[in-house]
Amino acid sequence: MKEAYITGVGQSEVGVRLTRSPMGLTMDAIRQALDDAGLTFDQIDGVASYPGKAHGYLGFSPIGVDEVIEVCGIKARWHMGAGEIPAQLSAIAEAANAVKTGQARHIICFRTVYEAAAMSRPDEFPPLRRDFVDGSSQWTAPFFAISAACWVAQYANRHMQRYGMTREQLAQISLNANRNALLNPNARAITKKVLTIDDYMESRLITTPFCLHDCDRFTDCSTVIIVSAGDALDEVSASPVRIAATAGAVHRHSWDQAEWMASYDTGPDLWAKTDYTAKDVDTVQFYDGFAFFPITWLEALGFCQVGEGHKFVEGGTRIARDGELPLNTAGGQIGAGRLHGFGFAHEAVTQLRGKAGERQIPGDPKVAVATSGGGPLAAALLLARD
């Protein structure tokens, strides 16, 4: 079987209540990724996204795969826009499978989010209805556990109860995100000033133990990752990053019935598919829709024991850019906006290519893990520069 590589990355303007249209942002990111890879539209033969166009809640996902095929004039041999896959980054994992098996040569993978703009223009983008609920949310929303914050906070609280995690330890995720975001030009609309531990402890509570700084915020942006087949690299000008392994396991697909999040099913499965081990990893880009998630990913992927993630991040030195395992070097979603998963792949590739500018980590990094998801959603990508 062929190998799969990431050969181009792109990101539109990142903002809050942007006026440029969702398709405009998507095209900006696609053009940037094509330029990065040295590819043109006529070389693209696949398109993938997560979760597909969200009719009924357009701010969450305003652009469909079929629209991109149409607007870009792509003669697609393979495409997929799906929500019932392990998590956001699984769109990239599925694209990797497609190029490995010869179904396409170059695939545009995109995730466009427009929740901040949509909320400011409800006539154009009607909000999600809350009066009737069905599907899995019927088991939480009737109790006003409406945001995922309420669901995830209960896991975080249990970690405090069971393993002794403190708010000061949890805060390290947000403080680290803030430090890194301040060096990320694409995060300027989201992070504008230094966050101190005092700011953190004094900020308003959302749902215990989470305060405002433990949560990402609605953002408008499109992020694009181009996935190419190993035998098509001679068509590409950028330095490729190999997708060495992907995983997305879930043993109980429920936000409240599962004892553990799916990250704990996915982490061991990633290592089962590769000769690399956690010790080989130079940087991790872990989904941080809420600050507790990276702590679970550290445990799930074996960077520490289960129940010790909070000790791993204590003081923030290990996860800093010059630490032993730099985490969320672009600021993650807490520092750089809710890009919904794709930002982690974008930053992992940027770091592995040595193109992260002021926030570049030292030591010529060669291996990275990017993850997305929480609760029953989990996907992991192992990325390597050969």
């Binding site: 809350r130 009066d131 009737f132 609920v133 069905d134 899995s136 949310s137 019927q138 088991w139 939480t140 929303a141 009737p142 109790f143 006003f144 556990a145 409406i146 945001s147 914050a149 309420c150 669901w151 906070a153 209960q154 896991y155 609280n157 249990r158 109860q161 308003r204 509570l205 959302i206 749902t207 215990t208 133990p209 989470f210 429920s254 409240d256 019935q257």
Partner: protein, 138 residues
């Protein structure tokens, strides 16, 4: 919490759960789907047992008592008019191994709720749906 609760859309699978609190059901009971073949419980309710895939399943009244598995004190008003703070908790039900319910703990101050507290179901009716809330057992 003066604002109306988001209301589940009732169907054949979930109706016994969301209407079990009606007093005409033996004074109001919590119903969880039980398997007549393997004896295990399935929640959310389905027409198949999630343990042995049997279709010999039916809603069964359970004691309605339990223990707080985990909780969060919610301070954010997610809907206009929602009064805060309030407690969202996950309750592990007595006699129903493997099933927890997300719910609200009512009838006491938010700082009086703790892990492992013993609780009992109490129903709140709204437009033909009986929401199973829990209160502390003193």
């Amino acid at each position: 919490m003066s604002v109306k609760r988001p209301r589940p859309r009732l169907d054949a699978d979930n109706r016994p759960f969301w209407t079990g609190g009606d007093a005409k059901n033996d004074g109001g009971k919590l119903y969880i789907t039980h398997c007549g073949d393997c004896g295990e419980w399935t929640h959310p309710p389905r027409q198949f047992c999630r343990h042995c895939q049997s279709e010999n399943v039916a809603p069964e009244a359970v004691p309605g008592t339990g223990r707080i598995d985990t909780l969060t004190v919610n301070h954010q008003a997610w809907m206009p008019g929602l009064e805060v703070p309030f407690v969202i908790a996950r309750v592990a039900l007595d006699g129903v191994p493997g099933v927890v319910l997300t719910t609200n703990i009512v009838g006491c101050a938010v700082d009086e709720v703790a892990f492992d507290d013993r609780v009992r179901v109490t129903f709140e009716e709204q437009d033909g749906v009986w929401f199973p809330l829990f209160e502390k057992v003193s």
